[in-house]
């Protein structure tokens, strides 16, 4: 799964609240979850659950007419390691960008000095 989806999934306060509620339970049905999340309606909770499931943060289990949701622990450990790797890659990319920016600043400063001398 793409880490962007995980970041996006965690960026929303309602989705964080859903994760916090699920963190205290083994699993909850869609109806029970909607009751616990008071600040938005049932339909909105459903769409948040879909986003969390796509991001690999929760699992969905259909039993009869009900759907049960739980935190996806196995996928999550893998995901945490990938997330750390992405942070490290981001830092290495930032080093590249810093070098290029410093080079542009130097070129700019050289051009300024050249301009000053011409006047």
């Amino acid at each position: 799964m793409a880490e962007d989806e995980v970041f996006d999934a965690l960026a929303d306060p309602v989705r964080r609240e859903i994760l916090a509620v699920l963190a205290e339970q083994d699993e909850l049905s869609a109806g029970d979850l909607a009751q616990r999340i008071e600040r938005v309606g049932r339909t909105t909770v459903s769409s948040h659950l879909r986003i969390l499931r796509t991001a690999g943060l929760i699992t969905e289990d259909r039993r009869g007419r009900h759907r049960f949701y739980a935190i996806d622990t196995e996928g999550a450990a893998r995901d945490v390691i990938r997330l750390l790797q992405r942070l490290l890659e981001g830092s290495a990319d930032a080093a590249r960008a810093a070098v290029e920016e410093a080079r542009r600043d130097d070129d700019g400063a050289t051009a300024d000095r050249a301009g000053g001398q011409a006047m």
Binding site: L10, L19, I81, L83, Q85, L88, V99, R103
Partner: protein, 481 residues
Amino acid sequence: MGSVVVLAERHVDAPADTIFALLQPGAGAGWLFDVTCDRLAPGAVISLQLPLSGLNEDGVTILGRIAHLRAPWRLDIVHDLPWRGRLRIRLDDAPSDEGGPGTRLRLLADLDDEGIAWLLRHRGVRVTEPLDPAERPVGLLLSKSGPGAVFAGACEQLAAMAVAEINADGGIRGQRLRLLVGDDATDPATGALEARRLVAAGCRTILAATTSASFARIADELQAAGVLLVHTLMNEGGLGSELRMQLGERPHLQLAAATGPLMDQVGGRRWFLAGNDYVWPRVVHDAAKRVLARGGATVAGEAFAPLGTRDFTPLIERIVATQADLVLSSFVGADLVAFERQCHAMGVREHCGSLALALDEPTRERIGDAAAEGLWGVSGYFEQLDDEHNAAFLARYRGTFGGLATPVSSISEGTYEALHLYAAAARDAGEDEPRVLARTLRSCRSTFARGTVAIEGPETVVQDLFVAQAVPGGFAVDRVG
């Protein structure tokens, strides 16, 4: 160390020294996680900001220390908070395809299962720890993240050392003691969730080295749980009961010990009281008003800032405007670090003496030698105590965790003591019932690195206090009895 190594590698079209020079925000673009460090040298403290989204906040601060440095080729950072790990940065000559200067830049992060468990919990994932039936779990709540992480330094290590000593001494009536650690993230609601997790994992006693804000919330939410909750660090008291104990230094005693000598040194008597906006600093200020009035001193002003404040400029301008002679700082953790650094930068030290009740060595070294010099602290323990018990204790700590381990504070030494006192009470009580254990604990007495500690009831600890003044590299300490 570590069961997982995470690696990132990039080629950069620049020589290694150019890349290395841009590492810090002050010197360049700060490509290494907004690293902050007063001096790049082995042993120096360093912090990194990781943009890790979690349930409660959008960033994670890594509190670490430089383990190895060979500029511009190698930088190793070890850290214990929020998780134990190591970050290694390696630069090697690797000419670019066109033959120009180039560098292979590698970043490696090492972490263990506990580190992964912390990261999972940070994201809201439930992680349980399997317990052996021969083990007896005891809970320890710390601030491994958030502003309080600064004062949590060495707590987990010293707790582990105490547990190893207790188990080497036969455990508790045939059972090995097992430490389960929770992180309140310096947030009361998170603290309550973590306390519930520890109770669900089987802990019948939880030691809390957290702010009073977290302790009060946990004490309230765990009313029906029937577990013993022990506050192990300096606090204002007031919550002691059959299943609630509050150890640690009391503000009025700290103030009575330190304000007089400080006023004698500074030669002034007008105080400004400034602290974080929660119960402990407010009680500290109320106590200060009484203690100062008795000593013929006056209060020139008072201000509070929420926990997590990073810009204290307006508050410090108010202090300067009152022309106070002395500042009582009741900020904690990263807030105390930021406040004192900014006071130093704004010249407050040149006019004012400063006393900070929560000043300890892990906090002092993050304030930095220059900004901390001359600050006063007061507590029941400083690492510099010249005493044979302390020397033996520190030798065991350094022997176990090495020369780069976080300095010991009253808070971390107090965590170690609390575990030994708990074990002594559990052995004496002869049963696991928390009420029976608490009854025994309420009259425990023992000698530790700080000296003799006598518990008298649910929230009174008789101990010596020490006044200390920050000097480069540590504290100069005086006993005040």
